[in-house]
Amino acid sequence: MGNVIGIGASPKRKEDQRFLTGRGNYVSDIKRPGMTAGVFVRSPHGHAVLRGIDKSAALAAPGVIAVLTGDDVKADKLGSLPCGWGISDAKGVPMKEPPFPMLAQDKVRFVGDMVAFVVAETPAQANAAAELLTVDYEVLPSVVGVLEAVRPGAPQLFDDVPNNICCDWELGDKAVVETAFRKAAHVAKLSLVNNRLIGNPMEPRAAIAEYEPGTDRFTLWTTSQFPHVVRFLMGALVLNIPQHKLRVVAPDVGGGFGVKQFHYGEEAVITWAAKRVMRPIKWVASRSEGYVSDRHGRDHVTEAELALDETGKFLAFRVNTLANMGGYLSTFGPNIPTNLYGPLLGGVYTTPAIYCNVKVVFTNTVPVDAYRGAGRPEATFVLERIVDVAASEMGIDRVEIRRRNMIPKEAYPYQTPVLVQYDSGDPVGCLDGALVAADVKDFGIRKAESARRGKFRGLGYSTYVEACGLAPSRFAGRLGARGGLYESATVRVHPTGQVTVMIGTHNHGQGHETTFAQIVSEKLGVSFENVDIVFGDTDRVQFGMGTYGSRSLVVGGAALSKATDKVVAKGKKIAAHLLEAAEVDIQFEAGQFSVAGTDRMKTFEEIAGAAYVPHNYPLEVLEPGLEEQAYYDPVNFTYPGGCHIAEVEVDPETGTVTLVNYTAVDDVGTVINPMIVEGQLHGGIVQGVGQALFENAVYDEGSGQLLSGSLMDYCMPRADHMPMMKVATHSTLCTHTPMGVKGCGEVGTIGSPAAVINAVVDALSHLGVTHVDMPATPNRIWRLLQNASLPVAAE
């Protein structure tokens, strides 16, 4: 028995001891006997014909073991990187899906596209040899912006993708929306850009691959959020390695945020190369290499229109977006700006008609895929910006217009006009909570005080809903998913009563070792210390889809909950036999199996022992052992939501925006570990604030060079950019997950960009400013202030 730590507690994290003492085990920390070093040679051009590669000088360089190119890939008849999601246009015509070769063939399509892999004894030798490779490029003009890419005469990335349009996707009833617009008393319009972002987990990507000729098995250690999916995609579809001959391990991983969620070409190349050179190979990306090879996020250009009646009720919402895919389709690329964007355009409002058209466009940039929030921050940003625009044009208070349109708590479950049905929520409750926590009523006093110091103060609101806990499989399948979206867990009870859990989600900062142990501790009544969580290794864990889309606790936790229920059920059978009672009379509570209404009982440890030492055991009807497994495929997404309020101060002299207060009230369902949830909210908010104020991936049109190509040119939020935030939860329970959880990993990033930009616009509204594109850098604001041609000093 001992120390049961259950749901709602905040124990110190199990994983912290190793991280605090420098004993984490990240991929770059691993060494294998005989290990060699691999280096990728990447295209310096955004767009070029690859005319030939002369390997001779590189091959002759000291220490070089192999130089591999696209020709070798072709000769070995290997597949290209698969896209995990196929979308179609309104007529059902599937998206254009050009191959994404693991090493470029015939053409390169973005700066960073891989053209060769050099293997040498040491990293220094591999780098030196890479310099000696002669690559003959015929440079073509690049196109990097979506508006430019779809113009007639634009450079074409693929011969069979006219106008660079991969898919012309739509959702919603266009005709109904048009009718509603004709009846509107007011139509608000807004054009905006959702800036391109680079995820920047602090650990750069890395991989080690090894081939053992004795067993004909491969091992790949990789910085991945979903090792089983890598095994499946890479083994079955790219390299033709049988699943049982391939082990993929993602050990400690230093942050992911989506960036490490995809099957990358580097993983396939290094695994293939390891067998060719018959030695382990290690590749570790530099940060700058990550900038041109980690998948980017966001990058939308959008025109939106909101139709309202004379009271400010939303009648219809129409959105046209051009979404940048980059040079190829990444694992989930086409799914993000379509299925994870359009269905969330309803937000927390009762808008009866919505139409969304998304043109998914190829450009000469790093492929774009899911980055924290993925699609939902983009949807929230459009919606929450245009609501502010409408409020200001119609002279309605910004909180009031939101309140008038919010789905009332009693109206749940709520069917939106764009596919999804929200099961539970309380947007008004979140809004009310946030208004109080943010002390909105005294904002005027604070604004006047700022004005006395010559500063403009602004307040911004954002309410949102998201779809997370990715799954259900059947629904996802209808939307084009080529894989399932369930999760699995195995609960292994040892003869002594300790527990090892094998789970298919992946822990890269979210605290799974702690949260999942709490669930087991509570459900089985075993000591928190006596539960270990195993993840990230395809040889140890049965199967799993990994961690992304806030699905770990929602889907993985549900699988775990189901598996522990099975353990209890079997334990009852054993107890019934040992206590000579009927199974229906056995109760399980606080780690004890007892016969109802008596004091006869067996502890969990005694039952575990009996299962493994079956001297007195009904072997005819029950197998020895106490280990149970469950797969869980949810019936719906979960729908966290909330309200965020940002308060900023703008210095008109320099254009600097300072975030002075930040408040968030989020509905994340049941909170298993409040400390961890709060930490997730903090981190998510700061990533969203980063997008709003600092971060921007900028390409040079024409050359396709990434101008913000390192941490020197890409501004990451630092400790002194942030105030102390106030975060709280106001939860309604999810109606269909076993514990009522909804997920919390992305809510911060979804709610915050609109809150911050709405605050910036509010601060500048007296100058006639109606919109500011992200990031609201000092330069951008300063130029806006100059163009406002109004006295810059505050009155």
Binding site: K12, R13, E15, D16, Q17, R18, F19, L20, T21, G22, R23, G24, Y26, S28, D29, K31, N200, P201, M202, E203, P204, D252, V253, G254, G255, F257, V284, S286, R287, S288, H508, G509, Q510, G511, M675, I676, E678, G679, Q680, H682, G683, G684, I685, V686, Q687, S710, L711, M712, M716, P717, R718, A719, D720, M722, M724, M725, G748
Partner: protein, 163 residues
Amino acid sequence: MTVQISFTLNGRPTTIDVEPATLVTELLRETLSLTGTHIGCDTSQCGACVVHLNGLPVKSCTLLAPALDGATLLTIEGLQGAPGSNQLHPMQEAFREHHGLQCGFCTPGMLMTAVALATEKPVLTEADVRHGLEGNICRCTGYQNIVVSVMAGAAAMNAAKGE
């Protein structure tokens, strides 16, 4: 060509031959297998590699190994209470108590910077800490719990000193 350097590493005298162009991060991680010092960037921006050189925090990714000759070097592996034990330094305890870490990748660098801050200035304000952490990027925590941890850790270090 190699040069021989002698220095004190986490309290132990160490003599080793290095290529003059070796970075301290490489020496620690590759040669000495002390992988607690992390590499998060190639432009000295992230602070994942912070160690103490003669008692002061430095980014070891921009330091050449010959500079260690005659110096005292402290890495995350040498920070704990008793060597070889699981006992934590007060700053490590504070990070654990206040959830000042998530993925743990920035953590060794953060801790080394934090200990140096607390050593330099006994009473730290929130502004001091935020300013003092400018050279360390954390992508996970949003900094709030790190700031709280550093202030608590500094207070604990002070209390321990006063005893």
